[in-house]
């Protein structure tokens, strides 16, 4: 096990300094966008900037009070990304569009919820008690968009939205968290059983069939999301989350082999049966064929136009507000990465991707440092989910892999995604707090199972 630092320091002042830097990035970007607008530095700009700063500092103060050993890099990274996202969404707003202000509202809600989680939950290990409630919650959240009166119907081919009064919401984003909690709780309790039983085939030790239950469940959930909600991105995300968590719990590479086999098998069958999956693959592989480019819906116009934008941006970009991202459909949500590539260039986009790299690395660091198996699994799962989500989105936009409808965490327009990701950040901060705090005062329920695994 990693030993706590000899003399652990809270490092809250480091966080404060970094936070000022992060706000400078976000508000600076906003200012550049505003300079190019018709009414530079109007009330909207000051309103947005001050509210973002207030939210960031409020979060910082809550950390000082409730989780003072939390990782000092995580909050500034997220504030920088969120601030940049606000600026970019505001930049894409046409006359009368309110997406920017809507995103700001959701940012404030999300920060408030994340603060609430930290304030009242106090310790992430409490979540372990809710293992099976989380499973039930996940199931309900995933089924909600399919229920007639709550569902917001089919939006752009996917059924993932529900109606909440005047707003719409994507419950699947929250399900990402509840599923991670369930997997972490279940695997931390049952890993010994899964570990010890099994059959060795060649160099790989394969699990007993009955221990495959959770994996089959996860697979069925993913397939269900794909079939009923027609959401390929979330399907990949849920399954990837599960594979990583079971791999971390057992250290058995055989799980990864089985999991990848199921993904490829399921994906192949899905691409043959469901036209929306087939179209995605076709739009990726044959993106530059006229029939595929012109097909609507399900054509490759979006991805090809995104590539044109990025190519136009080149190394240094056109400058904020100087490019033509309006040629790319959904430039403020699904394609926001292409917008960054176009206007901030390869350098700007690399910087953003590096922020994500740092963010999930800090999450993994918390997983290494914390002493309970549940916390390790949860931190690992959530961090990997962020990484995988970035990979799926950015890989899709750059045509490395087929484009699927996932949001870019903290950047893309969309309230549900923002809320879910801020809650994830809250959880990671809490786990990093236990990982870095000097003495662990809570009795550790996981000690026996940890002992088994001591290398």
């Amino acid at each position: 096990m990693i030993q706590p630092d000899a003399a652990p320091k809270p490092r809250r002042n480091v966080e404060l300094a970094l936070l000022v830097l992060a706000l400078a990035v976000g508000i600076g970007a906003s200012a550049m966008v505003d300079l190019n607008s018709e009414t530079p530095f109007d009330n909207d700009f000051w309103f947005q900037s001050s509210l973002l700063a207030v939210a960031a500092f409020a979060f910082h103060i809550v950390l000082r009070l409730r989780a003072k050993y939390a990782d000092p890099a995580i909050l500034p990274i997220v504030v920088a990304l969120n601030g940049l996202g606000l600026a970019l969404i505001h930049r894409m707003d046409g006359p009368g569009d309110d997406t920017g202000n809507n995103q700001l509202r959701w940012t404030l809600i999300a920060v408030a919820v994340a603060i609430t989680v930290i304030w009242f939950l106090k310790d992430h290990r409490i979540l372990r008690r809710f293992t099976f409630i989380s499973l039930a919650a996940s199931a309900i959240l995933l089924v909600l968009p399919l229920i007639p009166f709550i569902s917001a119907g089919e939006v752009l081919g996917a059924r993932v939205w529900i109606r909440l009064g005047p707003m719409t919401f994507q419950p699947g984003e929250i399900a990402k968290i509840t599923l991670a909690v369930f997997f972490a709780g279940y695997l931390s309790s049952n890993r010994d059983l899964i570990l010890l039983a099994g059959r060795k085939i060649g160099p790989l030790q394969f699990p007993r069939f009955k221990d495959m239950g959770p994996m089959i469940t996860a697979w069925l959930v993913s397939i269900g999301v794909l079939v009923f909600q027609r959401d390929l991105g979330s399907s990949i995300l849920f399954f990837g989350l599960f594979i990583v968590m079971i791999y971390v719990a057992t250290s058995r590479i055989s799980w990864v082999v089985i999991g990848l086999g199921l993904i490829l098998g399921g994906g192949f069958v899905a691409s043959r049966i469901f036209p929306h999956v087939g179209f995605r693959l076709d739009s990726w592989w044959n993106a530059f064929t006229p029939e595929v480019y012109d097909r609507f819906p399900g054509g490759s116009r979006q991805i090809v136009q995104g590539l044109f934008g990025m190519a136009d941006g080149g190394l240094v970009g056109t400058g904020l507000g100087q490019g033509r991202p309006d040629l790319v459909p959904f430039a403020n949500s699904d394609m926001i990465i292409a917008l960054i590539g176009e206007e901030l260039g390869l350098i700007g986009l690399f910087a953003v991707v590096l922020l994500y790299l740092l963010l999930f690395t800090r999450g993994f660091r918390a997983a290494l440092g914390t002493r309970d198996a549940f916390g390790k699994l949860l931190a690992c799962g959530l961090s990997f989910a962020i990484a995988l989500q970035c990979f799926v989105v950015i890989g899709g936009v750059t045509r490395l892999i087929p484009l699927t409808g996932l949001t870019t965490p903290f950047l893309a327009a969309g309230g549900s995604s923002l809320l879910a990701n801020w809650i994830i950040v809250g959880l990671l901060l809490m786990i990093s707090h236990t990982a870095r705090s000097p003495i662990d005062t809570t009795p550790m329920t996981d000690t026996p199972s940890e002992a088994v695994k001591q290398p």
Binding site: S251, P290, D294, M310, L315, L349, F350, L357, A387, L400
Partner: protein, 485 residues
């Protein structure tokens, strides 16, 4: 557990390494290729407010830049917009450009290499850069005549060319639209118009190709000219060959059969020579020829006429590639030989096929550009007629021409006959499923012994009677108009 956490982190880092690679590829390594892609509107849009050159037909501009408003010093204006929309395309702030506005962007914006010295001198003279103007080969009277011959509300295309030079004299299609609606500087109006226009069936402004160069249609019996060329070219058939002409041909390996064309006199003979089979457009003789010669021979002949090929470098319009599908079974081959099933051709492709027959088997590059002039009216390029490919031998072309004159003088293409002129032609009626509607074709040229003009007409989705009225008789009007000039 910590070891596997580190492995999971490494996996995540590996994914990010791939992302960094992909971003570098798109933004640096592959960027030039993406910037040159014809679908890429960014270069055009960078010049949005510049004084672009005019597109000119017979000395009069059909697209020109006029004084704009305070947001943009120049505004693109189209005269007779619907008549020429399929050729000029549109030039929009939101949607970029299409048609010649897109393909000739360098010339029109004055950024082509040939205009380099002009740009330099304009800089020294302190004038704003101005684009080159482009004069087209179109004949405005023929263009107008052809456009009016397609009734409003009817989908169809007409292509009129000079088979000896490849020059396009008229190229129209309906439905058409007014590009001025999308060229306006009022972004809200522009977007509303764009969406409104896209709702009209037959108009899709998002598509990179459309109309005579883009619509892929079943060619029906006009494809029989290719069967005939393939038959004569094989050496197995000659001008006197007698072909079996049963009322219907059972399709091999299927319970269906291919009936003869019911509209003519096919039923009067059980065998036919080429002349009769073409005059009456009988199906079964050509299906038998295709089964006899095999897929490769027909596909090869189709390729020589331009199927699966592009139109060369003088057209300057994006075009769809016509298809003769590979790997056909015998039933599909028999149906494809009469232009049904999966054979698809653009109106321009059929026009080029006919032009090749008219021009002794030599297909000329279709050409829309008469010349390009610098702002000082100096001609900077003037395309010469160029050979695109050899489609068939002069002897075979002559023979097919003779039979095609029979189609007009004795056969079912009689409506295209022009008094005192020998007209060669071929009709086609491609059934659209079981709807009872057809794509009705006429393609031909005149005079047969010294072709001056080739006309191809297709009217989409009509019943047989309407189709017959709108094809051959209209071709006659165009022949007369061109030949009487």
């Amino acid at each position: 557990m910590n070891q596997s956490i580190r492995s999971a982190w490494l996996a995540a880092v590996a994914m990010f390494a791939l992302i960094f690679g992909a971003i570098s590829y798109v933004q640096v390594v592959g960027a030039d290729e993406l910037n040159d892609n014809p679908w890429n509107q960014r270069a055009v849009l960078a010049d949005y407010c510049k004084d672009r050159g005019a597109i000119i037909v017979a000395g009069k501009p059909i697209a020109e830049s006029v004084a704009g408003d305070e947001t943009c010093s120049f505004q693109r204006k189209y005269t007779q917009p619907e008549l020429y929309a399929g050729i000029t395309g549109y030039f929009s702030r939101t949607y970029g450009a299409s048609g010649l506005e897109q393909e000739l962007r360098d010339e029109l914006a004055g950024s082509s290499d040939q205009l380099f010295l002009d740009r330099i001198s304009q800089v020294f003279l302190g004038r704003q850069a101005k684009g080159a103007s482009v004069e087209l080969t179109l004949d405005p009277q023929i263009q107008k005549l052809a456009y009016d011959l397609i009734p409003d509300g009817q989908r169809g295309s007409i292509v009129v060319t000079n088979p000896k030079t490849g020059a396009i004299l008229a190229m129209v299609s309906k439905p058409s639209y007014d590009p001025n609606l999308i060229a306006t500087h009022d972004v809200a109006k522009e977007q509303a118009s764009f969406e409104q226009l896209n709702k009209i069936p037959g108009i899709n402004l998002n598509q990179s190709v459309s109309g005579p160069t883009g619509a892929l249609l079943a060619p029906g019996s006009v494809f029989k000219l290719i069967d005939t060329a393939a038959a004569l070219n094989s050496g197995k058939y000659n001008k006197d060959s007698e072909l079996p002409n049963p009322a219907s041909l059972p399709l091999p390996g299927s319970s269906a059969s291919l009936p003869n064309y019911a509209g003519g006199n096919c039923y009067t003979r059980t065998t036919a020579d080429f002349a009769f089979a073409l005059e009456q457009s009988c199906n079964t003789p050509f299906a038998r020829i295709a089964l006899d010669l095999g897929q490769e021979a027909i596909a090869d002949q189709a390729r020589k006429f331009g199927f699966g090929q592009d139109f060369g470098d003088q057209l300057k319009l994006q075009s769809a590639v016509s298809v003769f599908p590979p790997d056909l079974d015998d039933a599909a081959l028999a149906q494809s030989a009469v232009g049904q099933r999966d054979v698809k051709a653009t109106p321009l492709q059929i026009a080029m096929m006919t032009a090749a027959i008219a021009n002794g088997g030599v297909q000329m590059k279709p050409n829309l550009i008469k010349n390009v002039r610098a702002p000082d009216l100096r001609v900077i390029s003037e395309p010469e007629p160029e050979v695109l490919r050899n489609s068939t031998s002069p002897a075979i072309a002559r023979q097919i021409t003779e039979w095609m004159t029979g189609v007009v003088s004795k056969g079912i293409g009689g409506g295209a006959a022009v008094p005192g002129v020998e007209v060669a032609g071929k009709t086609g009626t491609a059934q659209l499923g079981d709807s009872g509607l057809n794509n009705s074709w006429f393609t031909g040229f005149a005079p047969a012994n010294d072709p001056q003009v080739a006309v191809t007409i297709v009217i989409e989705g009509v019943d047989v009677t309407t189709g017959a009225q709108l094809t051959s008789p209209n071709a006659k009007k165009i022949f007369e108009a061109v030949l009487n000039k």
